[in-house]
Symmetry: C2
Subunit: 387 residues, 2 copies
């Protein structure tokens, strides 16, 4: 049976990139390896829409978040954490682990924090050193209005730290125009690579904070050391350099397509997925949905865990479920990175068939047609051919 | 030209393992993925010679060292750092970054710290919370007598933290019998994998210290969180799971050969490399040489940087040079992991040819013959065939 990975990370990796990973390992401290790293970091500036330097880390995305907190926020400083799901919670947990006082702005899972809420929090806490937000909250499929957040935060001395792990490369994210001070992503989402690397863009405003911060709480994730290392052409510690080398291959595809085209394509896939689920009678979970994944509520009377298991075992479709209290209640379908429009159709088709088999009343093809109508909208059809 | 990676990390990766890395990426939180991780951690217990639990980290080896320090040593505690090279220095730098007071026991590069020196330091600092040592000091090729160190430290309340990154799997290292409390290795040395993973074995004595330590200085590298996660079958954050999956393939080779056989084979390769260099008239740099790499002094009048460049460009042989003040003065030839005895001969042959070309007086084949004589010694030859 053909296996289709349609979960919001890790995501499928292009075949050419996989083949790169099978190449013999070469030494990591050579002019050639430095050139590859430099090229990848430069290409990532394009993906991040930034002129800021990009710092690479051999770690999961969480390591990147820790780097942001441990470098920017001294113990005893204050951070406003915007919490709309599990990864907003993770920001808070990291801040707590590093002795940073946290102010939480909570919304129910499935909702997005509103810019007005952030404005009120900033007003109530003018001493906040940072605002921590997710771009795309992977646990709920919600997208935050980072452009609006950035405008508010830029007017203050605080830094805007963004977990863009499942958002960057899957939806519009303009690091510089949106005033994101530290933007964090991981390799295993829209960048089309296996997990193992995290990347952070760091603004001048953030570097100033980092230079002022003398708390001894970062060594492996020390951004200053990484910047100095890169300035002399190399990383302070051994990078997962075969992943960097493979990322170059995936980034070639990204550059060839172009970020704006990718955003538009992913927006179409997202719109199609939403239309498909809704046409099946499923409710969307996210009030302000992200474009990298679509989250639908499991219909009343259907066991979400059984549904996911059927999709995987009978159809080779690996979607993700809900975590913690959402387990069994939602399904999450990814459409970022190397997941294309026909993969989305495969996912929707599988959900239709599995639901039918579970006794859910549904006209087969309804979700698929709704999705296809979205895809058809973007066609440029000649006027003179009769439909 | 055929490329031979003969540097002390990253090292060559077996072809079957590379092919595993080229397989389509699957989801990381499934019973199958958990089973693979559990199997790898169990196999690593065999490699570490320990019954202690093994904690995996997606990071370079340095991340593993940081995990040891940040979890075991509260700020203000004291550590004795045994410094015989760059990686002993790294222990000290990490301790300093985390506010740990350090007592350095230094020896000149090329020498090993003696057990008597450690005994004296322990006597002078009975309040030391940990002793940090390298097993194999990758920068000089020196091996420390960890068995002797362990005996001394076990009689005190202090922990023995060992950087075994370039030693473990390449030479005898008995974690439990030698009383190593935290033993750290990386994936890119004798484990025959690309860089990206670090592993730590943690003794009961160490867990007790970790549980007492309430300093908020670890999140990503929090060992308690990792242990709890593994107890329920999974890691707290996304592992570089494709590397874990590939490691299983390399570990199959390791298990099939057997640790004692591997140690014996690597010891032969090391003895052959030493004999080879000496027969060429080169002096060995390490007073107490490790078995994973051999370090030779570059002869008077020969530019070590040119020698290494010739080896790489003319012969595809990638050896490593010295770092910092040793740049140009030593060459480092690795013989660990997937580097076998004939690779060692290739390395020696290249050095002979390159030296000859640089005007060094040498009878061609002299180093090779000396090495081959070492290999021949271990043959079991029938008595009745006349030589």
């Amino acid at each position: 049976m053909k296996y289709r990975l349609l979960a919001p990370g890790p995501t499928p990796v292009p075949e050419e990139t996989l083949l790169e990973l099978a190449k013999p390992v070469k030494y990591h401290r050579t002019p050639e390896a430095r050139q590859i790293l430099a090229e990848v970091l430069q290409d990532l500036q394009y993906v991040f829409c930034t002129r800021n330097s990009i710092m690479p880390m051999t770690s999961s995305g969480t390591g990147g978040l820790e780097a942001a907190v441990a470098n920017c926020l001294p113990a005893g400083s204050k951070a406003i954490c915007l919490i709309a799901g599990r990864f907003g919670e993770r920001w808070r947990s990291i801040c707590k682990a590093f002795g940073v006082e946290t102010v939480a702005v909570n919304v129910p899972y499935g909702q997005a924090v509103q810019p007005e809420q952030l404005a009120a929090a900033l007003k109530a806490h003018p001493d906040a050193a940072a605002i921590c937000s997710t771009l795309s909250e992977t646990s709920t499929g919600v997208a935050h209005d980072i452009a609006a957040f950035g405008k508010l935060v830029a007017a203050t001395p605080a830094l805007l730290l963004v977990d863009a792990i499942s958002g960057l490369g899957a939806m519009e994210c303009r690091t510089d125009d949106w005033h994101i001070d530290i933007n964090v992503t991981g390799s295993q989402k829209a960048l089309m690579l296996p997990p193992g690397l995290a990347f952070l863009s760091v603004s001048e405003k953030a570097w100033k904070q980092i230079e002022k911060n003398t708390s001894p709480r970062a060594f492996y994730f020390d951004l200053k050391k990484m910047r100095n290392g890169l300035a002399s052409g190399d990383t302070p510690y051994t990078m997962a350099h075969t992943l960097v080398q493979a990322l170059r291959v995936s980034l070639k595809q990204t550059k060839a397509e172009g970020m704006e085209n990718i955003w538009a394509r992913q927006a179409r896939s997202a719109a199609a997925a939403r239309a498909g689920f809704q046409a099946m009678g499923l409710e969307l979970f996210a009030s302000r949905p992200a474009n990298g994944l679509t989250v639908a509520k499991v219909p009343e009377g259907i066991d979400g865990t059984v549904l996911l298991s059927k999709l995987e075992k009978q159809y080779g479709l690996k979607l993700a479920g809900g975590q913690d209290h959402l387990k069994g209640k939602i399904i999450r379908l990814a459409h970022m990175g190397y997941i294309d429009q026909f993969d989305v159709l495969a996912g929707l088709a599988g959900v239709e068939l599995a639901l039918l088999e579970m006794g859910y009343a549904l006209e087969p093809g309804r979700g698929l047609s709704a999705a296809q109508q979205v895809f058809a909208k973007s066609l440029s059809r000649p006027e003179h051919v009769p439909v």
